[in-house]
Symmetry: D2
């Protein structure tokens, strides 16, 4: 169903030109000072396909702060480690609330609505912190192996900045702990969470690392099973209903791909049986999604006839 | 990607046997007295494919109250009539709330989160009531044409019962009107809404009527364009994120098809480029979805390898 | 404990001068068009004491729309008619929400938090509508008898305007009916409610009519028991915790008297064992309370050493 | 207006007998293990008057955990230290929510509704922690001076138990910090808060310590001004609208005195110009108020004709 495009590279380069000035329509995340230091004009996009092709344009090889995109990798690790019992501690429903809302967490008695809003990601961090003896190292090792690159690093400056501006995440974590849904000590859990958010990867590295989600769980480069076909299905379902914060419905409506964004300006979209698109542009819209990043993915999906809903 | 099954009819018959006693795990909707009168043991399922095949088992030719499944047809009519301006009056985000919640409607200043929760469906009814000179007739005519059957009727007993137990829907409608988001007189709007909910159709009729959503907007039997490919995409997206009430995320997670349920016990699921599954069993789970209906669709999807997320 | 002031009239006249321009700090209620037609510069104040003295200044004999001040009289009638069973249908807790909020009503399953927010007043209207054969007439008769004046009238222009802009109140009423907490037909109940809100009385008439609340339930002019000492206590308690909308706490904190305001710009304050203060100035603050009205009452209470909290 | 009772002691003794078995209607607070260890049959009551009389019955000289009653003393200290700027950081409105709710705190952007719900008391603790060099010692010294007794102590066992079960309070504090409304480090603030909650005092000590609130701010024993008449008024107003958790309206309605309860089972009620009543019985009702404690205060108020609302 995917249209073949002989000149994908030219197409991506043309799109990068089109959105060169889109950065002016958004605002770089500034609630964490270190994130505000990034150059808002950075713009990149990369398409990795399960047959091994990598096509990119713009700053697609420039590492950036992956932020909430890390939630996908953490979820994969927690699903593998806990099995189905994970879903007794976190739900899989869209939230209908801003990503950092504490109201719903109180209503639902400490059970986060899904693993990709902040409360749910903190719960996943709790699983990793309490089930791995060195969860940060395990996480970094997992990413390096997926991206096949030892160059992937934690940005310590961003990490420190997150840590000193993490009061709302601490509130979410303590509230879950008051409901008995957290096992670790909160400072350990937060340290893990901010570490995984502070990792830097490029569009190319992200797109390649996530190919297993477009390939029924198998990393097409290594031929290794990263997660079961069933869990791959589940992750794509969650990303489809909840991956783009409180703009997830609109993204499904107008683009139609499982996707996840991060406040660092990255957007990844999974195209089952085809590949992964990753775009990056730091300025965000009011939902916390990259303005140009969303537009780039939408245009590529449109151009290639990619969508799971038709 | 759909697995071929030579003996689909036997498979469906076997599933109907499997779920013969599942009715005991749910409760027939009783907030509308007339709905409570239905025989809880009724159980049917039908698969209609875009190549014209109809396969059914159990009570699949028995008409039942379509209730909220009518929201799909009403949405198609409103989208056709209003075009994109519809989306200024109703959003397309999952709600994260029970289907009849009034809280979120107040928060969002009278703009319903999506057109398939009650508030949104009432908004769509307002569009039909104020843009068609005889909206009930137009609606019935549309359904009869889609199902190619003049036998489709309104159940007047259910209609009267809905009307006299419709206070919460009246509250939702008046609240939207207080925000200036309703044009019709509320009694007219409610009369239209309860009329469309009170229509009776069988699994077979529903499955056939919705084939256009699996076929890029074209009714495969008449070859007529019912809605544009773009709007077909949008409707399937909304059904995927929000069609199964506050169990939509779990349905995506475990089944993976655009779907809609009604408190009459019907469930329809769209399989793009393949067909439509419709099941029926009156007893509902706590989310308002048919217990056996959801299970039947899940098993068929599993058996045939149907899902949009892998 | 009340300080004697020989020249109360001069004091009131001086205060009326002081607040002559306070109307510019607020905005006349405009959600009901007929209310927006009032002259914003009107300003009056009256003190009636249980020993029979009436002292006023400014436009204190000019009738104005009593609006929510009518809730006190309706409550007295409903308490008398239903006895303690009233408190199974409405609570007596402060709401912590705007006066017309529908959110809390859903949370509390159709039981209003107290009888002086809109939901509670609609519930009281239901009691009157269903327990009096001609509730509007009974209400008007009660007021005329309390004020000893047959000149008290309903403003039909305001009534019609309320009726055609009453969608939010209709939503509240239908929501309560959906929870089984309303007996009347909603249009009857709303008609009664908007009638009682549309009555016009002057500061003097209001102050005199409410003297029984400062006198253990006895109207000092007629010596008739209007409500029992126990119910008088209860009404004063409710007015103290909830009478000034979502500014009730601040009013207790800075003034310290049981009080009730209306969006017509009136404010009444009860001084147990002394009398009643009533002020009027149409422009409202963000809570829906008269800017100058609140200031006038505060200054008089300060001047005379009136407060129940010291 | 207070009725004289020659035999107050006999009256109190008789009431203690009456409520001997009331402990069976409630449940001792058990969310903090150390609190659950108290003997549920303890029952005491004491009336201290501004003319120096102390009358008690039952276990009125037995120290118990004062818990939230400490919020009054902390508020007095913070008002004295910060002056009116305190009210920019905490509101004075009733909350209409359970005492430990985090929902409202999010709505109101980190500004607690009043200083006697948990969020507000944590804010007050922040003021003390950041404005006193040794806030715990200062607090204890203040209480010892008010009660004229060096025997008042912190129960270290309760303190440790609170500290290890304080996750919800930590969540509230971190949420306020995320809104920029907290100056101290959260662990310091919590340590202060749990310390003040863990102080043990008897009914007699509490009643005597709070006499200044019944005496326009002056401690009648030492003749020292503890807080200004204006601030005394304000505190009594806050206790009247919000002191008894989400039962404050009902307490005003049926008793009519400024009051505060603690989950240790204590209740204090201020009678302006007369004195203070303090009762104690550990088992609590669903609002977190002592069952027998509330009844004892209500009966004494009734017997002596005490209420501020008539």
């Amino acid at each position: 169903m995917v249209k073949k495009i002989s000149n994908l590279r030219e197409k991506l380069q043309s799109l990068v030109k089109t959105y060169k000035n889109a950065y002016m329509q958004g605002a770089v995340a500034d609630y964490i000072p270190a994130l505000a230091e990034v150059n808002p004009k950075m713009l990149g996009v990369c398409v990795a396909t399960i047959d091994g092709k990598i096509t990119g344009a713009g700053d697609y090889q420039q590492p950036f702060s992956i932020q909430s995109i890390s939630k996908i990798f953490a979820l994969v690790m927690a699903m593998e480690r806990l099995g189905d019992s994970l879903w007794q501690r976190v739900n899989m429903e869209p939230s209908g609330q801003p990503f950092n809302s504490i109201i719903q967490l109180e209503w639902e008695k400490g059970i986060p609505r899904n693993p990709v809003i902040n409360a749910g990601a903190l719960l996943v961090s709790d699983v990793l912190t309490s089930h791995f003896c060195a969860s940060k190292l395990a996480f970094l090792t997992f990413l390096r192996s997926l991206a096949d690159s030892d160059a992937i690093k934690i940005d310590n400056h961003v990490y420190q900045s997150e840590l000193s501006h993490g009061n709302r995440n601490a509130a979410l974590a303590y509230l879950m702990k008051s409901f008995g849904n957290i096992e670790s000590e909160i400072p350990d859990l937060l340290s893990h969470y901010f570490t995984q958010c502070s990792i830097k990867m490029s569009c190319q590295q992200l797109a390649q690392s996530l190919l297993f989600l477009a390939n029924k769980g198998v990393n097409p480069r290594s031929n290794k099973l990263i997660c079961s076909p069933k869990d791959t299905h589940r992750i794509n379902a969650i990303l489809s209903t909840s991956g783009m914060y409180d703009q997830s419905g609109e993204f499904a409506f107008s683009v139609g791909l499982p996707a996840k964004s991060g406040v660092g300006g990255g957007v990844v979209a999974i195209v089952p049986n085809y590949g992964v698109i990753c775009s990056w542009s730091p300025p965000l819209n009011k939902f916390g999604n990259s303005v140009a990043g969303v537009n780039l993915v939408a245009d590529i999906a449109q151009e290639l006839g990619l969508s799971i809903y038709h």
